[in-house]
């Protein structure tokens, strides 16, 4: 079987196999380098333009017509409050919907229809959600134009399907043997889900939630639709007072004619990126915490 010609054949092929290996590695390295380069360039220009303007005054002041006095605090606070509303609405609804669809719902045409709708909902352009928020939420609460509450509600519509989809995948990934074990010892279906399935799925659910939240944080279009583009010179006092948010503030400043706003814009982008990093960091921390619990 292992005749010399047999070996020769293998050796003859070796060179081209190794070459293929090297080619793939080079291609992979090039791809990584390219994306790192783009990111590096972006960071470099933004830090160069923005860092000089990033001081305590910028972080504590709100929007102003004079670029030297304009600050980010109003928009930052508005973003935080909007995100809080989004999270408070989208997370529980999304997780419960995912649990119900995955663990309890009968598999029939209705649930299939709901499934398809949720998948489609996740792909709907964000401006459509803005129109929905304008037509429904602002029609119901006309006095809350530009408010973080309405903004959060609109973004929650957008984030919820993302949480449902990632939640379902995370729940699906929990081995069935764990459910068997719990049910066989006499746990009720709800106990099985809350004692065993959800804790195991939580890291995955959190990852999906953060992806959805990060998308919502950077979203501008739907918030423009519900009026969060007004000039707001004071930080929002409550969830129903007029407010701006970080990406909209960046959009507004980038449109200013005054050269002084170029620095402000870059500084605002730095704040937005830092906010995003902090959110991702929190998600990674939470995920590791839950994964290491046992």
């Amino acid at each position: 079987m292992n005749s010399p010609s047999h070996q020769q054949r293998i050796v003859a092929h070796l060179a081209s196999r190794h070459a293929a290996e090297r080619r793939f590695r080079a291609l992979g390295f090039f791809s990584v380098a390219l994306s790192a380069l783009v990111l590096g360039f972006l960071l470099f220009t933004i830090l160069r333009d923005g860092l000089p303007g990033l001081d305590w005054g910028f972080l504590t002041a709100s929007d102003a017509t004079d670029p030297a006095k304009a600050g980010i605090w109003g928009a930052l606070k508005g973003s935080m409050m909007t995100m809080a509303v989004t999270l408070a609405l989208a997370f529980p609804v999304g997780v419960f919907a995912a649990v119900y669809l995955e663990e309890f719902a009968p598999k029939n045409r209705w649930t299939e229809l709901i499934e398809v709708s949720i998948n489609n909902l996740a792909a709907v352009p964000s401006i459509i959600f803005g129109l929905l928020g304008l037509a429904v939420f602002l029609a119901l609460f006309p006095n809350w134009r530009s408010a973080p509450l309405i903004g959060g509600m609109t973004l929650a519509l957008m984030t919820m399907p993302v949480i449902v989809i990632s939640g379902r995948n995370a729940i699906k990934a929990v081995p069935p043997s764990i459910r068997d074990a719990a049910l066989a010892i006499g746990a009720s279906p709800v106990q099985t889900v809350f004692h065993h399935v959800l804790p195991l799925a939580l890291p995955g659910i959190l990852t999906g939630t953060i992806i959805g939240m990060a998308r919502a944080l950077g979203e501008t279009a739907p918030l423009l639709m519900i009026g969060m583009k007004a000039f707001v010179a004071t930080p929002p006092e409550g969830f129903t007072s007029p407010s701006s948010v970080l990406p909209v503030q960046i959009f507004l400043w980038s449109d200013e004619i005054d050269r002084g706003f170029v620095e402000r814009t870059s500084a605002a982008i730095i704040v937005l990126l830092a906010f995003l990093l902090a959110m991702n960091g929190l998600a990674i921390y939470l995920r590791n915490r839950f994964e290491n619990r046992w």
Binding site: K107, P175, S177, I178, R179, D180, A181, A182, L183, A184, I185, G186, A187, S188, Q191, H195, H196, L200, W294
Partner: protein
């Protein structure tokens, strides 16, 4: 087939009558009747796909969790049909425990694995009582000496054999009347298997034990009653010693001597 009533004069713990199990349109178990007594370990043997695991899972209604599965006929636990609407499945599973083919401890601590059942069923009123139940269950499962100093370690960090004994301890902790074992040793090495078999012999008499196994030697070693399944029916049910030395049916003989299966 034999009449199960003639076999043992004792009152059966479980009595299955004309049980058929369907997966969709497929009939996995066809009109099976059998009595399971407390005093014995009952082994279900038969070739793969003969329906023995399916049948086992109908004793604690784990087939309910499979969509499309349907059970006909009656299975009585202590004389009460478990398939009537009046039977609470949660209560049933506290009385009929189960150990699975692959060890499936919860990814929680060893202590939590055993304490979970008593806790959800409200079986112990305080921590001391729960500690006691955990210790007793682990002792009965022959695992206490190996884990008593690391009860807060993860159950999944144990070896395969230890995990399976942990699963047995978890089942014992709620003090069931019946323990169903679905090929409990098929994922274990010979030494771990020997320990589980020893444990089964020790548990005999305290619980009615039903074990599905692919290993005929195992059935011969641990059981006193054996049912041979083929194509969804019981071909022969009787004393293990008789089944293995003097089977009445040709098919049983062929299977035991290794002609097929």
């Amino acid at each position: 087939m034999t009449n199960p009533h003639e076999l043992d004069p004792v009152t059966p713990r479980l009595a299955a009558r004309d049980v058929s199990v369907f997966y969709g349109d497929k009939r996995a178990i066809d009109n099976v009747s059998i009595d399971i007594a407390d005093e014995y370990v009952t082994a279900f043997i038969g070739p793969s796909g003969c329906g023995k695991s399916t049948f086992l899972r109908s004793f604690n209604r784990m087939n309910d969790t499979i969509s499309g599965a349907r059970v006909e006929g009656s299975i009585a636990l202590d004389g009460k049909d478990i398939y009537t609407s009046g039977m609470d499945v949660v209560q049933l599973r506290a009385r009929v425990g189960m150990v699975f083919q692959k060890p499936n401890p919860f990814p929680k601590t060893i202590y939590e694995n055993v304490a979970y059942g008593p806790r959800i069923h409200g079986l112990s009123s305080n921590k001391a009582e729960l500690d006691e139940v955990v210790e007793r269950s682990l002792q009965r499962a022959g695992l206490w000496d190996e884990v008593k100093d690391r009860l807060s370690d993860s159950g999944t960090a144990l070896s395969g054999g230890q995990q399976q004994r942990l699963c047995i301890a978890r089942a014992i902790a709620v003090d069931p009347e019946v323990i169903l074992m679905d090929e409990p040793c098929s994922a274990l090495d010979p030494i771990a298997t020997a320990k589980i078999e020893e444990l089964i012999s020790e548990l005999r008499g305290k619980y009615a034990i039903v074990i599905v196994t692919h290993s005929m030697q195992q059935a011969a070693r641990v059981s006193q009653r054996t049912a041979f399944f083929h194509l969804g029916k019981i071909v022969e049910y009787g004393k293990t010693s008789e089944i293995f030395t003097n089977p009445r049916e040709e098919r049983t003989k062929d299977y035991i001597t290794g002609r097929y299966g």
